[in-house]
Symmetry: C4
Subunit: 239 residues, 4 copies
């Protein structure tokens, strides 16, 4: 993939966040990473979405040093960098303040796996991080946000669990590409909404069994997958 | 009805699910059954709705064996087949992950008949299935989903109760035709939403009396119905 | 006002219910009453809104006997007739199954006057009827719905309280005209929504004081009103 | 800024309230204040938004005396005047009955600072006023609404807390300009929605730490701000 194609895919993912109703005003940002070229393309800070062009995206190296672009990158760039470093297999990161996922992040609770809609995409509860400490906030705050996320994933596979809730803040999502990361952000919001309804209908609602969870997750992911059309293995949706 | 007409009606029902906001991405599927011809027409798996044409639908026999179509059928086909076998009078099946009905399915609770909006379409609580067992999940999962639904209907009339909530999963709806099944899916979502609001306003809200429930159900169904225009007995709505 | 003008106003009010999102499919109906001519114009039963024309409306006398129209009137006609008889000053009646107002009706609770938005239109709690008895349901059900509403208003002024929640059913609204009745139906739904949020934030939320309630109600209604422009006393809104 | 420019900005802010879904019918009003010219421009009372032109706005002095305009000003004008007097640094005031903020006002509770979305705009809990007393309601009600707000801000900085919830009524917002006030009204509604979800997920949800709150507030406000593009210090959004 050329850098030009990466810029276009990152721009498109940012616009997808708007189309799916996941961002208000200029909240939210998406980046893509080309590991072979050691480049990250990320949304500039505070620029309205309807004016964004591929050329406005900021290009950095894998340490977050700007190598191309006239605008300041998103202030959350260091979090994106920390995630690309911590999670080898990912090629895109998306941050939103989407309503239901943010409410769960504000509650400090994990989102339980209440149903198969959830299990089709996330293999277990969607984790909340611990609360960040004052010293982590005072300096290198955005970088530390990434390390606190990585700490939470010590025993989790980021490809089977492509989202996190930063406590008191909002979600970060990721995927093999920025397109997939944006798709996961849309699915997360829907799951967060359904889980919200579930716990307010029934405070002691139970997570589904491991058997049902893994059946659904593996029906769509990995070598035994049998969902979608065989010619289109990358198919993200279901039916 | 010709097979061509069945294809068109099934396609239209799938699109109605999208228009009514009952599906996100490619979630959900609708099928129609022509019992005289022993044919089922069903949506292919994982194909975006806006690209679907009548020719993309997969045609199977009443055992679910493909007799026409180049694409894989929806992975939920065996559930549809099991429902057509279990419920003689039905000609259409719809599966969605619509938000409120899915939340009720995730709670594991039946939806009580809290009002006349509900009673106009469903004669009693909308039932939840029991939780599926590991062995039912591990093999023939989609078929077993159908048999667990049928088990729940042992003492229920599927034509007076054209929907079910599969615990930890989502709703299935049906009807005399796929058009009616899709209409029931839209009504179910509205009822599930109202019932959600009702139990969160008042946790001990009561179901309406049998007298009121049957008055409304029978005002619209069966020989004593007096709703709608006499020239249009198939009228689905009310006013 | 001519009968032609009444037909047009009633049609417009029915369409306003659709535009405001208060009806799903063909749920709901509006009627207007010309007391001088002793005529009621009401929506026909089960006809989709987008096909309605003024000529489709059914004209009845004040006993509900059809005097003009080829279609069956709304099955709720007897409730409308009962309300026109019970409440002298009203010229329009609207029935919807709007989501939040219906949920309150299903809960069996009155909607408390939690704020000035409510007090601008309704001088006190919006009342719920008692549950209807089996004998009231079995025969003359729609007429009895109206008499149970009238019973609930024994000590209430219908012009200061232009709405009711029929327990286990849904709201009826009214006003000096059908236009005003439809406006009240839209306001009711908004109030019901806000009241829903209020009680789920805080189960023991208190109604506002009588002083505040009457200040707002009388700022807009009656001889001391000072809201809106003096040239436009009929102004329904506020700002 | 000319008076003509003020009229246009105030009109635009009023229309922004409609576009953001913060007002129903003619509910709500916005005003702007030019302190150098000692003039306030405010929406007229009860005029539908889609007919408003700059010439319809009412111009008053800083005591609320009309100096130009044919229409009655918004009945809430005295509240606006009281706020411009109490809070030196503000140039715009917005009043809405937006759904979630109004529900919080009806609950009588402050909105806790549950997350960074909130802290980016409001440095702490969004305060509710005390309940107004009968004598404050009976005469000079709208003026007293303003003084009760000012009383609540005795130990608060109105520029770090540009919103209030009037108990049993609805929010007022403000800012350096009416554009900023309208933006704050939109953000407030979103925060109120997220806070609503947070407390209904978890009744004992905790506010974020002062360290995190101030980090986010000061990242966007004051001399140490590093959010947005340096050439565009007035940028209101984030990303």
């Amino acid at each position: 993939m050329s850098l030009k194609a990466l810029r276009e895919e990152v721009l498109e993912a940012n616009l997808e966040l708007v189309r799916r109703g996941l961002v208000l005003f200029t909240f939210g940002n998406a980046s893509g990473c080309d590991r072979a070229r050691e480049r990250i393309a990320i949304k500039p800070s505070g620029v309205p979405y309807d004016r964004l062009t591929p050329a406005d995206l900021v290009i950095t190296d894998l340490d977050g040093n700007i190598v191309d672009g006239k605008l300041r990158p998103s202030s959350d760039l260091p979090t994106h960098v920390a995630l690309y470093r911590a999670f080898d297999g990912i090629g895109g990161v998306v941050h939103t303040h989407s309503r239901y996922a943010t409410a769960w992040a504000q509650s400090g609770l994990d989102i339980p796996c209440f149903g198969t809609t959830h299990a089709d995409y996330f293999r277990g509860s969607i984790p909340s991080t611990r609360v960040m400490r004052p010293n982590e906030i005072e300096s290198k705050y955005e970088w530390n946000t990434g390390t606190v996320i990585a700490e939470r994933f010590e025993n989790l596979d980021p490809l089977a669990m492509p989202a996190v809730l930063v406590s008191g803040h909002a979600p970060f999502c990721w995927g093999a590409s920025v397109t997939e990361a944006a798709h996961n952000a849309a699915i997360l919001e829907e799951l967060a909404h359904m889980a919200y309804l579930t716990v307010t209908i029934r405070a002691d609602a139970a997570a589904i069994s491991e058997a049902l969870r893994d059946k659904h997750f593996l029906r769509k992911h990995g070598p035994g997958a049998y969902y979608g059309q065989p010619a289109d293995e990358s198919e993200l949706d279901r039916g």
